[in-house]
């Protein structure tokens, strides 16, 4: 029997390490340590319900387990063979307990290719990866296939880059293979900078060997012997697991000199990022690896021609690489049957925001937003109304009700005014002010703009200022036209992907939520009730008993009134801190 405990960042924050400890301790107490094995795995994806414990072979899926639940699981499930009902997932509609994850709405529509091993294997144990066909694809490539055959297989599969751009992966490899040099480099972009997207981190934490294997395959196909993984310093667990994986692979002879007894040699090193969103752009990333400020340069020359240290370099992101071994093992013709006409395979999305089932999912391309948000995601939190979903992070756009039935793929999302990006999906409900959301993203872009080109450096700052003005009720109708004009100029004239996409949140909210902008300007009102400057605190005469509690707690003395008389708020001094509302026992103060 196996007890699989999620060791991803989210579950570890909810004490999953203590769960592992308690399991080991309790098993020893009962003398069962030889019969039952405790395995720390990567992310199961269902982060909302974490920490997760899965019992095998019967596939029982326990949710929100606490360290103190462990003795009961051992006593009931492991020893007596009875499931602990109260820790099973409860279907929110049918109110029934479901014990096997494959019957849960969250998992039903998923096909896990890139995430195939996350939650199944111990990422710190190479034997477990090998037991699930690990390094089989690399062996097949270097002993049976010519480099050109490998490239053809990837081209055939239709795989496109999962980092955001969607460039055909096979073509990228082919270009890199055609440029000759004494040294070439394979780079993995693990600088996941899109806030709210955490698939790359989960893959590295849960299945690091998949990425190493794919990089070696890429190296073989383009004639490179050196691999570099550029990873965020903010991901300490992923770094630790990668280091362990690299050491193990070297020990087994799967990295290093003469792999599988052939004359192919390949090794991988880590390079650390230091927190700069723009480094997701490949030329910036390469400069950062060279120890410089991560500023982009004009393409061409493309990295495939002149990249790291001026040598031909292929840059792919983590999720792209994670697909490679499966494509080689199962064949391009298996892979290209999944997905839509122009976007093959699956895509991992990070669901977050006001959604019931926050987590990591992998679905075939062509699944609709409605299926993702309402079936897999379980709908909106607290029964609120769906308002918008932001795909593609700060570079993407807000999609609304009318886009819910659009099949998700690279081209459809672009046509709808957003983009695939790295796969972050932030769901928003009726309480979210879309002007504030646009301002939030611009705040991010202003901070992350590297400052090299003026449209991005100055333009985004100006966009932010206009948005800020509107949320304070100081905007004019001309500002809306100004936003649109500036956005288009920034998009057309910026040097790299950051500036070319940063106005998207502004444009898409203008298109979809025009009325909300107008309400801020003409009526001085925030329909979602989020913009503080547009709120007014008022005392309802009939509820106020004149207890003076509010007047005493007000830090600026804005409330006046005699004892047992109705009080008044001087809105010109009120700082809207909310202290009075908290104190009032008679619900006599409201926010308008």
């Amino acid at each position: 029997m196996y007890l699989l405990v999620c060791g991803g960042t989210g579950c570890r924050a909810s004490e999953s390490e203590s769960i592992v400890e308690n399991f080991k301790q309790e098993l020893e107490n009962k003398g069962l340590q030889d019969e039952v094995q405790v395995v720390t795995t990567g992310c199961f994806g269902f982060c909302e319900k974490g920490p997760i414990v899965k019992v095998q072979p019967d596939n029982t899926f326990y949710v929100q387990v606490k360290p103190e639940d462990i003795p009961e699981i051992i006593e009931e499930h492991v020893i007596k063979g009875r499931k602990v009902e109260r820790l099973l997932y409860e279907d929110p509609e049918k109110k029934e307990h479901i014990s096997d994850s494959k019957h849960m709405d969250f998992y039903k529509k998923q096909i896990r290719i890139a995430l195939r091993n996350c939650g199944f294997i111990d990422p710190e144990n190479l034997d477990e990866y090998i037991a699930r066909d690990g390094y089989l694809a690399l062996g097949k490539c270097i002993t049976e296939l010519k480099p050109a055959d490998v490239i053809n297989e990837i081209k055939e599969s239709g795989l496109r880059g999962r980092g955001g751009g969607g460039f055909p992966t096979g073509l990228k490899w082919e270009i890199a293979s055609q440029n000759h040099a004494d040294q070439k480099y394979v780079v993995c972009n693990a600088d996941e900078g899109d806030p709210g997207a955490f698939m790359d981190r989960s893959i590295l934490e849960g299945d690091p060997h998949a990425v190493l294997e794919a990089m070696a395959i890429c190296g073989y196909s383009m004639g490179a012997t050196k691999g570099l993984i550029y990873i965020r310093a903010e991901y300490p667990l992923a770094i630790k697991r990668l280091k362990i994986a690299i050491d193990q692979a070297r020990e087994y002879g799967l990295l290093g000199e003469n792999i599988f007894g052939t004359d192919f040699s390949f090794d991988v090193e880590l390079r650390y990022g230091a927190g700069a969103f723009v480094c997701g752009e490949e030329t910036s990333l390469i400069h950062s690896m060279e120890g410089l400020r991560g500023e982009p340069t004009i393409k061409p020359p493309f990295p495939a021609e002149k990249g790291y240290l001026g040598k031909p370099t292929n840059v792919n992101n983590v999720e792209t690489y994670a697909n490679i071994p499966v494509i080689i093992n199962k064949g391009a013709n298996w892979f290209n049957k999944i997905g839509t006409e122009k976007s093959k395979g699956t895509k991992v999305f990070a669901l977050a925001g006001k959604i019931n089932n926050v987590g990591l999912i992998e679905v075939p391309m062509g699944t609709t937003l409605r299926e993702v948000i309402f079936e897999i995601g379980g709908g909106i939190k607290d029964g609120k109304k769906f308002k918008a979903v932001q795909t593609g992070g700060p570079s993407g756009g807000c999609l609304t009700e009318k886009d819910l039935d659009t099949p998700i793929d690279f081209d459809n999302l672009l046509a709808a005014g957003s983009m695939m990006g790295s796969g972050g999906m932030i769901v928003m409900d009726e309480d979210d002010c879309m002007v504030s959301v646009a301002k939030f993203y611009l705040d991010f872009t202003v901070e992350e703009s590297c400052g090299k080109c003026s449209p991005c450096r100055i333009g985004n700052k100006r966009l932010y200022e206009v948005l800020d003005r509107i949320t304070q009720g100081k905007g004019t109708m001309e500002d809306l036209q100004r936003l649109r004009n500036m956005s288009n100029v920034i998009k057309d004239t910026s040097l790299c992907g950051l500036g070319q996409t940063s106005p998207n949140p502004v444009l898409s909210t203008l298109d979809n939520f025009w009325d909300e902008y107008v309400a801020h300007i003409e009526e001085q009102k925030c329909p979602a009730g989020q913009c503080k400057d547009l709120m007014k605190y008022e005392i309802i005469e009939e509820n106020c008993v004149g207890c003076t509690a509010c007047a005493r707690v007000c830090p600026v003395g804005a409330i006046s009134g005699e004892r047992k008389q109705t009080h008044n708020i001087d809105t010109s001094i009120c700082i809207k801190c909310g202290a009075c509302i908290e104190k009032c026992k008679f619900d006599a103060i409201i926010v308008k």
């Binding site: 806030p195 989960s202 990022g273 230091a274 932001q390 928003m428």
Partner: protein, 162 residues
């Protein structure tokens, strides 16, 4: 950027030399050198940057350029228990800003500052990837999930005597 003056001791200078040497004194290793140096000193004041520049035989301006470009590097010392509030999108829509305001109010400092007793510093970071627990707050290495403004007091309470 404001900075504080420090006088480096002989052993500090030797430590920097040693770090530079472990990366073969190569200019291209600057970011790795800075990671190691910050790990050791906790922050990167101007004097440390000068020593790094010397160790890698490059201009101080270039070092300063890199230090100020990346958000991970800091020129100010952090508190003993640094507090970072995640202001990634998932945390933002789940109310991270209210949590941030409450921390500011309770600690009486702004983002980027440290309390007078040197115990807590306040910073924002973009997504730790624990979006299922949004809004997320980190104190040192410890992660707190689903933090509400009302819960801020309890978190600070934990570090009262530490």
């Amino acid at each position: 950027m404001s900075s504080i003056k420090v006088k480096l001791k002989e052993k500090d200078l030797n430590k920097i030399k040693e770090i530079c040497k472990s990366f073969n004194n190569e200019e291209g290793e600057l970011i790795n050198v800075l990671h190691k140096t910050q790990e050791h000193f906790g922050y990167l004041p101007a004097e440390v940057q000068e020593a790094v520049a010397q160790g890698l035989n490059m201009s101080v301006a270039k070092v300063y350029g890199v230090v100020t470009f990346y958000s991970f590097f800091t020129m100010l010392p952090k508190g003993k228990h640094p507090i970072s509030i995640c202001t990634g999108t998932a945390c933002y829509v789940r109310g991270a800003d209210n949590v941030l305001q409450e921390f500011k109010r309770q600690l009486n400092i702004e983002v980027g500052e440290t309390t007078e007793d040197g115990k807590h510093s306040l910073s924002c970071l973009r997504c730790v990837g624990a979006c299922g627990l949004a809004p997320v707050v980190l104190v040192g290495e410890k992660t707190y999930g689903r933090v509400s403004p009302e819960g801020v007091k309890a978190i600070l309470e934990e570090y009262k005597d530490k």
